[in-house]
Subunit: 311 residues, 2 copies
């Protein structure tokens, strides 16, 4: 079950792509498409539009479909896209996932339905089984998005096992954003042998994750630092690895002092010389000028750069 | 600010109306419309379609709009409807709320955007301010849905105060599903004097809530026991009140032994002699036959009935 239709699996550094907005808070498809191309040219092996950092859950289903179409039409290759297609409503999850498959995307990353908290393993299994069967397409490659700190619900080992047994060609991996390396290792020990790819949810765990058999990382800060994170990914077996890990950790530490999404957008806005890029949808708020200036100063001290972002 | 356009406020017992599904899990508008009429004739002062118990967050925006239209077209009066219109996405919340206002609904009950957890008070304020301004209709009456046990985010006293100051004619009440009577009392002490109506989220707190100045209750179990809960509501100042409270508590205790939504649907299915009524969308699962039989036996022992539900 370890091969996709094309025989290749996505590995490496992926960004849950920031979603730029116009001043009226509508999504800006052309800024997004340009930025996707920049990320693919600067360290990202593939992209996750509509991850948590994309403010995906602040977008309607129509907005998500429209943006995916726009990216594809701008020339971003579908086989380097792994859009987030999770939703609380079965009908929304089916619609988004079917759309991603129809458009030829390499896979889909799915949050569990995250509103109800006291849900049984049977209930989550039933949800994913319904999605897979209703999408009904052998091309679907599903990555499970495990993110208990925000979603508050997640995937137990037993649930992953049931899904792998029922849908061995469809369920192919996980983004593990638990922030718990022991959890990542337990997933790899249990399921890597059958070709289940585990991406860590922060580059902080990239080296340890690769040493445990991981497939890479899908990280918020890959939006601004994918080049350096990819250098670590490429060199993880070398003597340089610890030093490269420390370098990416330094940038992560600077960004994490502030709310990640507004902070990452402020960094892009600065390095693209495009102040509108900083706009976030509520319930987020923009950084204050003082927060932004301190963040940019911290990064400048680390000689941080985003080469070629300014158009 | 205590008067709506029509000069009347909804008070009493409200059901967050269960959503019936066809066997293929699509919503069943005609079963829903019949059931709404039954509830209004059997204890409910008004109805909350698309509350938590309605599995609203398991429905798409299109499904929610279509069901509201169907209920209204079946003759359920708009001035007895207070639909849930909350959503994680600003655009969805605006669309659902604008639709409810345009259709003449008495109000709208809004969850905060519930995906992101580390959100500032400013962010929540900004979200609600954007919804109110984008709906842009003086008829809007907004009830805040405070439900930390499930949504994990809620309304601080400071946030309620800011919203009341900014939108005194629009923000008119709260459903307090904290399960914490001290919280309900604190909201009433702070805001009842300016006409802010607080509904408790379970009939367990109805008598205590009314004694503290509350407006009634919006409760999952009002779907099956609104008649008895309304008798308590009507008699809360009388010597009978404690006994009536104990009676409704007995039914609530029986139902709460099981997951509330599948349990309430199983009860309706039995008393309507309509087995399909029990269907739930994933991530919920139907009760087992053993669970259902035990529940119905518990209720029979309490002489529980739903008169006139069988069509």
């Amino acid at each position: 079950m370890s091969e996709t239709a094309s025989g290749r699996r996505i590995r490496g550094v992926l960004a849950p792509v920031l979603t730029p907005f116009h001043a009226d808070l509508s999504p800006d498809a052309s800024r997004l498409a340009r930025y996707c191309r920049w990320l693919l040219g600067h360290g990202c092996a593939a992209l996750v539009p509509f991850g948590t950092t994309s403010e995906a859950n602040s977008l309607s289903v129509d907005e998500r479909e429209g943006l995916l179409d726009a990216i594809l039409e701008s020339g971003v290759p579908a086989d380097r896209l792994l859009p987030g297609t999770g939703a609380c409503a079965l009908t929304d999850a089916v619609r988004l996932t079917a759309h991603a498959v129809r458009r030829g995307c390499a896979g889909a990353l799915m949050l569990p339905p995250f509103y109800f908290k006291a849900v049984s393993e049977d209930g989550f299994f039933r949800f994913f089984a319904e999605v897979i069967q209703r999408v009904g397409d052998a091309r679907l490659r599903l990555y499970l998005y495990h993110f208990p700190p925000v979603a508050h619900v997640g995937f137990s080992a037993k649930l992953v096992e049931r899904l792998l047994q029922a849908y061995p060609r469809t369920v192919v991996g996980m983004k593990d954003s638990s922030g718990d390396l022991a959890h990542t290792k337990s997933m790899l020990e249990a399921f890597a042998a059958v070709g289940f790819d585990v991406f860590v949810g922060s580059e902080r765990f990239l080296l340890a994750g690769m040493r445990a058999g991981g497939a890479g990382c899908i990280s918020a800060t890959a939006n601004v630092n994918a080049g350096a994170i990819d250098r670590l990914y490429q060199a993880w077996r070398t003597p340089e690895a610890e030093k490269l890990q420390a370098e990416v950790d330094g940038v992560r530490t600077a960004v994490e002092k502030l709310p990640l999404i507004p902070a990452a957008k402020a960094i892009v806005a600065h390095h693209a010389a495009d102040p509108g890029w900083a706009t976030v949808r509520p319930p987020f708020v923009d950084l204050t000028a003082a927060q932004r200036d301190a963040l940019l100063a911290d990064l400048a001290a680390l000689k941080f750069a985003m080469p070629g972002l300014r158009s």
